[in-house]
């Protein structure tokens, strides 16, 4: 600090920063990128371990042997489902009651803001059925949830079968200290959200739902189970609101690997490699990490567990994948693993609070904690800081040189662009959904197409707006005013990225990697058209498009340009739906803040 209070050295330092500004920025960008790529390699990752003693792998001895019963329940359930043509409520109620559970059902209905064409639903009506296993000798103060989605399209009968078999096995045991809620929810996430809101007696997303009949105290941990045949993946991560506790994520594969002679569960749909320090292994874990970052950045709940996290309930999703390997696991093994998890969770005296809540997983056995991955972002933000700091200096030197002697425009010139950009943002946020009916009347498109196309239209229209309003005010733009505007937009960008990174690192990092360098170099002089192309390339919409391409490459499912465009349209509508249905913040964040900020940069570029 003495460095800064000494005027000589201070001047020398600022001169250094000024002179080496560009190399420093480039260095910082490369460092940030390199750091991020390095996250998948050993020095940055720690071995996963269990902080909670009660969750240790040897704490319980599983005795579930009713795989056959699970399969027969599954067949019966499938039959009844086919007969009813939906969720067989009556059969489920009867079966659960016969197992000795307290059974309730919860009807709910929800009208989507616009029709969801992918899943073909608009006005959703459904019923959640749940049975509560009351813990003997406990006063219903805590509970665990095992939920299985039962939607029309999915073939999830085996999961229901396994759940019922587990329920019947659990009912006979006396060691339960927490109520266990067995929930079959219809219309996957919508049903789950309806149930959670009714359970907490809150109304976050305006869903009309029946009350949940019997409270069973706060849920401390929810686990969710989706299985199709016989291989298991942990899809635990990458949700809108946050991360489940790392302990919970580790429990499952830990138990699984231990029981099943070394074959580990896959993460992000990718099987794990056993070696660690070879190049292919590094590439493999980097790809897994990238997949995770992309998924997390999208802000979508990757499974029902994502909705639990808002209520501070740790939850993971276990999803079966169909692999082509020779050995497959039978229901008994999967049931045993789940039994082990539930008994460990049952043994917990407190909520999961140790371990990590913010982390990235390059593989299940290793993790990157928040303290390690944040510097990657820090380096990127440093560019903005470096760019911001010389501006006053520049101005000072310029003023001394008498460059700006002619006019000293006040901050008034900055008000119109700011207002216009944010008005665009507000339009982008509100108009598509409000104006969908008008759009369908005048154009031959469906509602959901109308919404997506309106979004894109408004987005593009933002570029063409008259951005030179300052000229009306001051007569002529000046060197100084664009610099002030650029300074302002850089500050704004830095603040936005800093905030979003704290809650969603992946989104923040993706935006920073693309937007920061271009934002740093932009100016209304020099190769203007090159700058314009660059700026368009880093707009959030293009980032989304590129992310989709990258994602498809990573899951080794390359697509053509047309498919890519289709996926892009789908992603936009999904993003809107996620916001309106589950309260995801990505769409409003982009529409209300990032897009206006980007428009400000666009303004700077075309400043005259």
């Amino acid at each position: 600090m003495g460095l800064l209070s000494d005027p000589y050295r201070r001047r020398a330092l600022s001169r250094l920063i000024l002179r080496l500004n560009t190399p420093l920025c480039i260095l910082s960008y490369l460092a940030g990128l390199g750091w991020f790529l390095g996250l998948a390699s050993p020095p940055f990752t720690l071995r996963s371990y269990m902080s909670e003693n009660a969750m240790g792998s040897t704490m319980v001895e599983e005795q579930f042997v009713f795989g056959e019963r699970a399969l027969s329940y599954a067949r019966e359930f499938a039959g009844h489902r086919k007969k009813v043509g939906g969720i067989p409520v009556a059969w489920l109620e009867k079966t659960m009651w016969n197992l000795g559970l307290e059974v309730y059902k919860q009807p709910f209905s929800r009208t989507l803001p616009f029709p969801d064409e992918m899943r073909e639903r608009y006005m959703v009506k459904g019923t959640n059925v749940y049975g509560i296993l009351r813990a003997p000798r406990a006063a219903s103060t805590e509970s665990l949830v095992l939920s299985v989605p039962c939607s029309t399209g999915q073939h999830n009968s085996q999961a229901v079968g396994l759940m019922l078999a587990l329920a019947s096995y659990f009912r006979g045991q006396i060691y339960w200290a927490k109520d266990i809620i067995f929930l079959v929810n219809e219309h996957d996430l919508i049903g789950m959200e309806a149930w959670l809101e009714a359970y907490h007696d809150v109304n976050v997303t305006g869903e009309a739902s029946g009350a949940v009949g019997a409270g069973a105290g706060p849920v401390s941990v929810g686990a969710r189970d989706v299985q199709s045949p016989l291989d298991v993946a942990v899809g635990g991560l990458g949700t809108g609101a946050g991360w489940p506790n790392l302990d919970l994520c580790t429990t499952f594969p830990d138990a699984f690997c231990r029981k099943l002679n070394g074959c580990c569960a896959p993460l992000q749909g990718r099987l794990q490699r056993t070696d660690w320090d070879t190049l292919p292994a590094y590439v493999h874990s980097l790809q897994t990490l990238l997949l995770m970052v992309l998924k997390q950045g999208s802000g979508r709940p990757q499974g029902d567990h994502g909705l639990f996290l808002r209520y501070h309930i740790e939850a993971i999703t276990v999803r079966g994948i169909n692999s082509f390997r020779q050995y497959k696991y039978d229901m008994g093994t999967v049931g045993k693993t789940l039994e082990g998890m539930f008994r460990k969770l049952n043994n917990l005296l407190e909520r999961l609070h140790q371990s990590y809540f913010f982390y990235l997983l390059p593989s299940l056995a290793r993790f990157v904690s928040i303290g390690v991955y944040m510097p990657a972002f820090g380096f990127l933000i440093l560019i903005l800081v470096l760019k911001i700091s010389p501006e006053p200096q520049l101005r000072a030197t310029a003023a001394r040189g008498g460059l700006w002697a002619e006019s000293r425009p006040g901050l008034l010139t900055l008000v119109p662009p700011l207002l216009i950009c944010h008005a665009m943002g507000l339009t982008l946020y509100f108009l598509p959904v409000l104006g969908q009916h008008v759009a369908t009347q005048h154009f031959p498109v469906s509602e959901s197409e109308a919404v997506v196309l309106t979004v894109i239209a408004i987005y593009v229209a933002g570029l063409a707006l008259p951005h030179n309003t300052h000229r009306v005010l001051t007569g002529c733009g000046s060197e100084r005013s664009w610099m002030t505007l650029k300074l302002l937009s850089l500050l704004y960008l830095a603040m936005l990225l800093g905030c979003i990174t704290l809650i969603n690192f992946s989104l923040g990092f993706l935006l920073a990697v693309t937007m920061v360098p271009v934002a740093a170099i932009i100016q209304p002089k020099g190769p203007k058209y090159l700058y314009a192309v660059l700026l368009v390339l880093v707009t959030p919409a293009v980032t989304l498009l590129l992310s989709i391409v990258l994602y498809q490459e990573l899951i080794e499912y390359p697509i053509s340009a047309l498919e890519c465009w289709q996926l892009f349209l789908q992603a936009v509508s999904e993003g809107l739906l996620d916001h309106y249905l589950y309260g995801s913040i990505v769409f409003p964040f982009i529409a209300l803040f990032v897009y206006p900020c980007w428009l400000l940069l666009w303004n700077v570029l075309f400043w005259k």
């Binding site: 600090m1 003495g2 800064l4 209070s5 000494d6 005027p7 000589y8 201070r10 109620e93 009867k94 009651w97 016969n98 000795g100 307290e102 059974v103 009351r134 003997p136 000798r137 406990a138 006063a139 219903s140 103060t141 805590e142 009912r171 006979g172 045991q173 006396i174 907490h200 007696d201 809150v202 019997a214 409270g215 105290g217 706060p218 808002r310 209520y311 501070h312 005296l349 407190e350 909520r351 609070h353 140790q354």
Partner: protein
């Protein structure tokens, strides 16, 4: 020596003539076991042991105890207790599926005491009494202090003979976190005159009693009328124990039961000190067809009573009648269901309630209580008592009571706000429940930040809020004729019934578990390091940078004269100009 022999002889004589007409303190013991199948198929077993003593305990000089336990008798005379009710409960009575209980108790420990009006310092007496009881019953009753004690104004009336209703003599406390186990059962059993050696108490085998879904043991002491004219007072001690057996898990899916299956013991004899020893089995069926149940051995007599607004039939086994043990030496009551129960159409009790915390996040929340009145045409009032610890700051202006979509104004509200670290919130309301309705009561609260030493060792478990208490006179469907308390079975006679058209019910809701904002206790070191660094390094320098302006002072060389002068000054040793 001779004196000692005389005393011993005298004692022997006294023991030899139980209930003799000559001995001034007359006492008696009744024991009773009620087995009632619950609507859900589970089975509740309620033991009651009543010792009655025709003696003035408050008068000095009572030193000879026979059936009445001395430990409790001395407490009563020392602290001038008028009534004492203590219950220790593990589990939660699920009124909705199990029906109305005969004796309900909240999860955890509950203690409420009425003192005599001659007690000057009630709080001191309460404190000492709870500490002594804590030792007697091996329970954490010593944690009862001013932060969880309240003085309800309307909910807890004396159950016994009383002409004082000044509620300042009442103290009430609940410890919802108390865990009940064998260590609490043993001292309770030791209060019984026969211990667990003979009589019904033989069945009280801890291993089986704690293999149940609900376990509640209680001690009720109250003064009662000595005879019909009620000119003098007798003392009554009731020890009750209720357990609910999960018929499903012990019967492997079948709901049949027998004494041996439940308690792994059978009854062989009555307690020799007891004047009455009976087993009642509830064999009344809802559908009027007695085909449903089959009890073996065949009961010698059948008792019909109207209990809780319902006419019920009980098979009675009188252990004192010699014919009972004629056939076999032990009694193993068995019950078989003739056909499987039909599912899902459980009859719900007239009054039941449910309570939960709603909302999410760690700043605010809402306590919601739902009270159901399923009576088809009668409305009745209910008194609700809420005790909320001080660290949940209630906002009384957010209190909303709605029934059928309309606001329901309580006719009586008593609210005593909390004082931080000194006393809890107390909210008592008299609410009218319309027929066939659900009443929702919500009140919002804010979670307080505790001092770091005030957190429990497991702060992430959450903090308990004691159950709320509902007291109501529920209108009965049938007319009940008042019975003589001495003749009727014990399970009907704890709560005094006012008239034939209604019966008294006290219900407890679930305790709540609330999370408070909890610091990460594992990181004080990190936090200390970080704050110290920030304060020491960054703050001071940044403050300097921000508040001071730095000017570069060009070193003025000065004239030749000045330089010379300075050299001279340097030589002289004085500071330069």
């Amino acid at each position: 020596m001779a004196g000692v022999v005389a005393v011993v002889l005298g004692l022997l004589l006294l023991l030899g003539s139980p209930g003799g007409s000559t001995g001034p303190p007359r006492d008696s013991l009744r024991e009773e076991l009620l087995l009632s199948p619950l609507p859900s198929g589970d089975l509740a077993a309620t033991f009651q042991f009543r010792a009655r003593w025709d003696s003035e305990l408050h008068r000095e000089g009572v030193s000879h105890y026979r059936l009445f336990p001395k430990a409790l008798g001395q407490l009563i005379s020392k602290f001038l207790v008028r009534e004492l009710h203590l219950s220790l409960t593990q589990g939660f009575w699920r009124t909705r599926t199990w029906g109305q209980p005969y004796l309900q108790a909240p999860a955890g420990a509950e203690l409420w005491v009425w003192f005599q009006d001659s007690v000057t310092d009630v709080d001191k007496a309460w404190k000492e009494l709870s500490n002594i009881l804590s030792g007697t019953f091996c329970a954490s009753l010593n944690f009862i202090d001013s932060t969880n004690t309240v003085t309800p104004t309307a909910s807890f009336k004396p159950l016994g003979l009383a002409n004082v209703t000044d509620h300042h003599l009442l103290r009430y406390a609940v410890l919802p976190r108390e865990v009940v186990c064998t260590e609490n059962l043993t001292p309770w059993k030791k209060l019984l005159p026969c211990g667990s050696k003979a009589g019904l108490a033989v069945l009280l085998k801890a291993e089986r009693l704690f293999h149940t879904s609900y376990h509640s043991q209680a001690v009720h002491i109250r003064p009662i009328c000595r005879d019909a004219s009620c000119l003098s007072v007798s003392w009554e001690l009731r020890q009750t124990l209720t357990v609910v057996f999960d018929a499903f898990s012990i019967g492997q899916g079948k709901r049949d039961w027998s004494l041996f299956k439940m308690f792994s013991r059978t009854v062989t004899e009555a307690c020799p000190l007891a004047s009455e020893s009976k087993i009642y089995v509830d064999i009344s069926s809802k559908t009027q067809e007695n085909e449903l149940l089959e009890v073996t051995p065949l009961p010698l007599s059948v008792h019909e009573a109207s209990v809780q607004g319902d006419r019920r039939t009980y098979a009675v086994y009188d252990l004192l009648s010699p014919s009972l043990f004629n056939v076999s030496r032990s009694l193993n009551v068995q019950l078989k269901w003739k056909r499987p129960q039909d599912s899902l159409d459980l009859s719900t009790p007239v009054l039941h309630a449910q309570r939960y915390v709603s909302g999410y996040g760690l700043q605010t929340g809402e306590i919601s209580t739902l009270i159901y009145n399923t009576h088809p045409y009668r409305a009745f009032p209910v008194i609700l008592l809420e005790t909320v610890p001080w660290y949940l700051r209630l906002y009384v202006h957010t209190l909303v009571i709605t029934t059928k979509g309309k606001e329901n104004k309580p006719s009586y509200i008593h609210y005593q706000p909390a004082q931080d670290r000194r006393r809890p919130h107390l909210l008592e309301m008299l609410i009218q429940l319309p027929a066939n309705s659900v009443t929702k009561i919500t009140i919002q609260f804010e979670r307080a930040l505790l001092k770091w030493t005030e957190y429990t060792p497991d702060p992430n478990h959450g903090f308990y809020v004691s159950p709320s208490v509902l007291s109501a006179l529920v209108p009965s469907v049938i007319a009940m004729k008042p019975e003589d308390a001495e003749q009727s079975p014990l399970f009907t006679s704890l709560f005094p019934s006012s008239d034939g058209s209604s019966y008294f019910v006290r219900l407890y809701t679930e305790p709540l578990l609330v999370n408070l904002p909890t610091p990460d206790f594992s990181m004080p070191y990190n936090v200390i390091c970080l704050t110290c660094t920030v304060v020491a390094v960054c703050y001071g320098s940044f403050y300097n940078l921000l508040t001071r302006t730095f000017h570069v002072e060009e070193p003025s060389s000065g004239g030749l004269a000045k330089r010379l002068a300075n050299i001279i000054r340097k030589v002289r040793g004085v500071p330069p100009l």
